[in-house]
């Protein structure tokens, strides 16, 4: 356990060292079946009900590659601006650990399907940081271990382990960055922004559920420090078990401070795997890392090589959807927003909500204004994220349409939205139940206008003598009498008509 005393202050770390990051992201593909067999991949099934002789590694069973797994891998590679291998093979990664019943993991070694790419990530201040991609390769997920005895499911002190192989063989793509340098103080932010951008990208490609909480997107963060005058990278640690975007940021920051303290006292960093602990927001030592050759990789003899034709690659390129950053640029232009205005929307978590509201039939201006003004206020008051407010984009869109049709005023619309937030149902039901429809009956409005004019004869006189601006006070009075249920523009017209008649 690392105590606070063993950590260097973040500013001091930056004064003395440059951080270097390497991020490895594993994403489970959302294929119907596993990578090398026809077992289903549904999450959360009863243990060991999704296996077959192939993924259990029984003698004589032979794997066959899932075509959609390969397609997804190539599409991910293309979206990451990678080159796609003309020819590549799977390899066996040999190790002794019971999470793979075969005693090896089918992976790719020195022939990844995709390599040499990049991903531009947007930082909080709107600047763009380019992360270079080393490779994206195909492999299979492992089973899940449960350690019995010992403390909190950890191996230490465990008496035995129990294995569930439902997940063993689920297709995984591992995406590895080149060393990320030059981030300075923004290293933790870059790490988070990269994983976030990658998540958005994979979601847009519809190749993965990208649920960090369910493990379908996992990040291992390699962190090392270089002294300012160093020409070579320092020894790195690899932190695993980083299960949220916030944890990615915290884990990198923690490792920087931990390593800084060790290096400052003349110590050296152990090349090891560390585990991120959500509760203490720190990392703890795992195992000393075996070097690559210890896995004794060799070409998988049971799977023939993959040679994607250039025609096929181009066909797959044509299936790439509008990528998140392209979409953002388009929306920014369509909505006529500045970079800063657009970034505020993104940071407020309003972007997808506005898009959904527009899709449900509302004009973009109105949709944006509701989400960033009134609903942001409501979210702040309740201390929740915008997306957690109990109002759907469809219901908000309905309210906006009713305003456009003249059936609600802005004041009434807010009451309807309040009703939706209070769980009173659909906007139309709330209007009926609360009696919030606009009073569009001129005779009812005229009665209220006459009443207001009679109550304030001096103002009425001003209007009659041509001081039209004075009408505002009467409009206000009428709105009060009709409890906001009148269209202010119509009320004004009626006041002016009335005064001209008399």
């Amino acid at each position: 356990m690392t105590s606070v005393a063993d950590l260097m202050a973040y500013d001091e770390v930056l004064d003395r060292f440059d951080p270097v990051l390497g991020l490895e992201v594993h994403t489970e593909l959302n294929t119907q079946t596993k990578m090398f067999c026809g077992c289903t991949t549904t999450f959360g099934a009863e243990q060991n009900t999704q296996t077959c002789p192939i993924c259990l590694g029984l003698p004589g069973a032979l794997p066959v590659v899932n075509a959609v797994g390969i397609e997804s891998a190539i599409r991910i590679g293309l979206a990451l601006n990678c080159e796609i291998a003309q020819w590549c093979r799977f390899a066996r990664k040999n190790y002794f650990y019971p999470d793979m019943p075969k005693n090896f993991q089918t992976s790719q070694y020195d022939e990844p399907i995709a390599f040499n790419g990049w991903l531009d990530v947007l930082l909080d201040d709107g600047s763009v940081f380019r992360v270079e991609i080393e490779r994206a390769h195909m492999e299979e997920d492992t089973g899940k271990s449960l350690h019995v005895g010992g403390s909190a499911g950890r191996i230490h002190g465990a008496e035995y382990s129990l294995l569930d192989y439902n997940r063993a063989g689920v297709p995984l793509i591992e995406i590895v960055t080149k060393p990320i340098t030059g981030t300075g103080e923004r290293a933790p932010e870059v790490a988070r922004a990269y994983v976030s951008a990658l998540r958005d990208l994979l979601r847009a490609l519809n190749v993965s559920d990208v649920r960090m909480d369910q493990g379908s997107l996992r990040c291992d963060a390699n962190v090392s420090l270089m002294t300012k005058d160093a020409t070579e990278f320092g020894t790195r640690t690899e932190t695993k078990n980083v299960n949220s975007l916030r944890s990615v940021e915290r884990a990198v920051r923690f490792e920087m401070c931990r390593q800084g303290a060790i290096l400052a006292t003349g110590g050296s960093i152990l090349q090891e795997t560390r585990h991120y602990e959500e509760v203490s927001q720190s990392t703890r030592s795992g195992r000393i890392k075996e070097t690559a050759e210890d896995y004794r990789y060799f070409p998988e003899p049971d799977l023939v090589p993959i040679a994607p034709s250039r025609e096929w690659v181009e066909q797959l390129r044509a299936t790439l959807p509008e990528l998140p950053w392209e979409r953002n640029n388009r929306l920014k232009a369509d909505w006529n927003l500045s970079d800063e205005e657009f970034r505020d929307l993104v940071n407020a978590g309003a972007l997808e909500l506005i898009v959904a509201t527009v899709d449900a039939g509302a004009p973009a201006d109105e949709a944006r204004s509701w989400w960033v003004a009134y609903l942001t206020q409501q979210a702040n008051t309740r201390g929740v994220e915008l997306a957690e407010l109990p109002i759907t984009p469809a219901r908000l869109a309905r309210v906006i349409v009713l305003i456009a049709e003249g059936k609600l005023t802005t004041t009434l619309a807010r009451q309807v939205v309040d009703g939706v937030l209070a769980g009173e149902g659909e906007p139309d039901e709330i209007i009926a139940a609360r009696g919030l429809a606009v009073v569009s009956d001129d005779s009812a409005l005229l009665a209220a206008v006459d009443e207001a004019l009679a109550e304030q004869p001096d103002i009425a006189e001003k209007i009659r003598s041509g001081k039209v601006a004075a009408a505002g006070a009467i409009v206000g009075a009428v709105m009060k009498k009709t409890k906001g249920q009148a269209d202010a523009k119509r009320v004004r017209e009626l006041i002016l008509e009335r005064c001209a008649e008399q």
Binding site: T31, V64, P98, V148, I155, Y160, S161, Y165, L303
Partner: protein
């Protein structure tokens, strides 16, 4: 297949595999090999590797290394679910099982 780089031991000139390599491989394979056996196996493995190496002598520069004897590429299957084993079937060959899971001895010092 790539062999580990020689890592010390009593490798003599011209040997394909050293005593240190054998010790390293034995450790990776979780085999308890005695000091005497290291000498014995290093010698035997060396003979095997030297014999296999003669194959390399006939390989010309224009012949790429072959990992697969069959000239096939791109053998894929449709992403269609097939029936799985039941839990009972899956566990039927396991030496030990508990709570629907395979039970294995505790694992020392190798948390993944």
């Amino acid at each position: 297949m790539s062999l580990p780089t020689p890592s010390g031991g009593s490798a003599s000139e011209g040997r394909a595999i050293s005593r240190g390599d054998v010790a390293h491989l034995a450790k990776l394979a979780r085999l308890a090999v005695t000091e005497d056996e290291l000498d014995l196996f290093a010698g035997q493995l060396d003979v095997i590797l030297q014999s296999v190496a003669t194959v390399g002598e006939v390989a010309a520069d224009d012949i790429p290394p072959t990992s697969h004897a069959v000239p096939l590429t791109n053998v894929f299957r449709e992403d269609v679910v097939r029936p799985c084993l039941t839990q009972e079937q899956a566990l039927s060959g396991a030496p030990a099982a508990e709570d629907g899971r395979f039970r294995v001895p505790r694992i020392l010092g190798e948390e993944q």
